[in-house]
């Protein structure tokens, strides 16, 4: 056999395929919020497929209030050095300079996140301009396809971060997946006015219909606090889950983190779900979303 190398092609970096491709490698996994390198190591040890490096988890942002910004790049670097799995970090909606800084540090994914205080109340970051891939939140199909149109390589349904209440994650996932099912049933002549109605790029509505799913990976986020919550979202039909405050605001983070990872893999196996849900200690206390005033609901941020 000829093992000698031939003249191969040039490497293409930052293509749509490699940006979306990393999200495909995260599928079936759990992405965990961490605020220190020690927490990142606990998350990796528990089987997280990636971590989100933050200064404060959403539950603390809620309590402490004030303007929530991109985390200290020094902290993000420490977390990147502590683990071998991908590290994500958040920038404010529309804050493309925070995004430039995160790209310069070399984070693996940028979350343009409603959990931070928006920097622009009309525009999101033009994400095609970056080599680093972006994940963005959505509450419905129109919002998801607008973000993909701007260059998002991964979508997460928003839920209501920092509450430990899964109800909004369910609402948003059902909304996106239900609208995709509707699009699949629509005759082609109805797609243009539907695209107009939901404010989505027409070409992406066509692509969604053809694929029968979003053109990018779609995780659930916001309020997932137990193994059963994670399995619920997987059975509803998302590709994986983000767990924010739910792990490190609970009584036994290492154990709960491992249980949520196992539940995400075996989401269709109630015997295993029962076993991994035993003796996890106290869950995060949580806030019922229905008790939150509209002004404190983070999911309404994003345009």
């Amino acid at each position: 056999m000829d093992n000698g190398h031939k003249e191969n092609g040039q490497r293409e970096l930052g293509s749509v395929k490699v940006k979306r491709g990393l999200a495909q490698m995260l599928k079936g996994g759990v992405i965990m919020d961490v605020v220190t390198p020690q927490q990142a190591i606990i998350a990796e040890e528990a089987g997280a497929c990636a971590v989100m490096a933050l200064e404060r988890v959403p539950a603390d942002i809620r309590v402490q209030g004030g303007v929530a910004r991109m985390s200290d790049p020094g902290l993000i670097r420490e977390i990147m050095a502590a683990v071998s799995i991908p590290v994500m970090a958040k920038c404010r909606i529309g804050h493309f300079v925070e995004a430039q800084i995160l790209q310069a540090i070399g984070v693996d994914y940028i979350d343009e996140s409603e959990v931070l205080t928006p920097a622009d109340e009309a525009h999101h970051v033009y994400k095609h301009a970056f080599k680093v891939p972006f994940v963005c939140g959505c509450r419905n199909l129109g919002e998801a396809l607008r973000r993909i149109g701007e260059g998002a390589a991964m979508i997460r349904t928003k839920g209501e971060a920092g509450t430990g209440d899964v109800v909004e994650a369910v609402r948003h996932a059902r909304s996106v997946l239900g609208e995709i099912r509707r699009v699949q049933q629509m005759p082609d002549e109805e797609l243009m006015s539907y695209a107009k109605e939901i404010g989505a790029p027409f070409e992406l509505v066509l692509e969604t219909k053809a694929l029968g799913r979003l053109p990018v990976v779609n995780f659930a986020a916001g309020g997932i606090a137990t193994p059963a919550d994670a399995a619920l979202m997987m059975q509803i039909g998302v590709d994986g889950v983000f767990v924010g405050s739910g792990i490190f605001k609970s009584g036994d983070p290492a154990r709960r983190a491992k249980a949520i990872v196992e539940a995400t893999t075996h989401y269709n196996n109630p015997e295993i779900l029962a076993k991994v849900s035993e003796n996890l200690g106290e869950p995060m206390v949580g806030i019922s979303v229905s008790s939150l005033p509209a002004s404190e609901q983070l999911a309404t941020r994003g345009w």
């Binding site: 191969n8 490699v18 996994g29 991908p86 995400t264």
Partner: protein, 194 residues
């Protein structure tokens, strides 16, 4: 023919779809009992630490090693890491294939890339095949391949990125993310010939 795809975490659905495109029955493997009656197995891309931990917790390591002794197995990216004998750090591995692999060998996600690769083994009739569109995502590389391991593809700088040792196949890159089924067809031929 039934080919399993290890479905603990990662891009297993993409492999299932590729196999179905080739008319092969694909089975998701999450527990040891799922290996029953399979003719071959694909270990997909994903996070190798996650896959290794889940395989350990659910008692899959030994059954997978035994399966690999008898049947063809192909690892892509994280799957290649999982097959390797040594990776220079402590994490659960099957350790069946006589290769040394370095994780994240090209850098972080900003360094992920696509490249056209010459893979002579993909030739159907002895002529030079069209280049294969290879997708590398936080990819590992082959640092060392012992006797009996054939390197199937190299980057222009000589880095080894695909190898075969008997009925074991390993690729640094992700044929499941391309529309090109030639690598899957190659593995299906390995399974058929085993």
């Amino acid at each position: 023919m039934r080919i399993g795809v290890l479905a603990l975490q990662g891009a297993f659905q993409e492999h299932v779809q590729m196999l179905q495109r080739l008319g092969v029955a694909a089975v998701e493997v999450r527990l040891p009992a799922d290996l029953e009656g399979l003719d071959g197995l694909i270990i997909p891309g994903g996070e190798s630490t996650t896959i290794g931990k889940l395989a350990t917790t659910f008692g899959l390591i030994e059954p997978l090693r035994q399966f690999a002794q008898q049947k063809p197995v192909w690892g892509t990216c994280a799957g290649m890491i999982f097959l390797a004998r040594q990776i220079g750090r402590d994490q659960p591995l099957l350790g069946v294939m006589d290769i040394v692999v370095e994780r994240n060998a090209f850098g972080r996600q900003v360094d992920s890339f696509e490249v056209d690769l010459d893979v002579p083994a993909l030739s159907a009739n002895g002529s030079q095949p069209e280049p294969y569109p290879a997708v590398f995502i936080r990819a590992p590389r082959l640092v060392e391949a012992r006797d009996g391991v054939a390197v199937l593809a190299r980057l222009a700088d000589g880095t080894a990125v695909a190898a075969q040792q008997g009925h074991w196949l390993a690729t640094s890159f992700h044929p499941e993310l391309t529309g090109d089924p030639r690598f899957h067809a190659y593995f299906v031929r390995m399974v058929a010939g085993a």
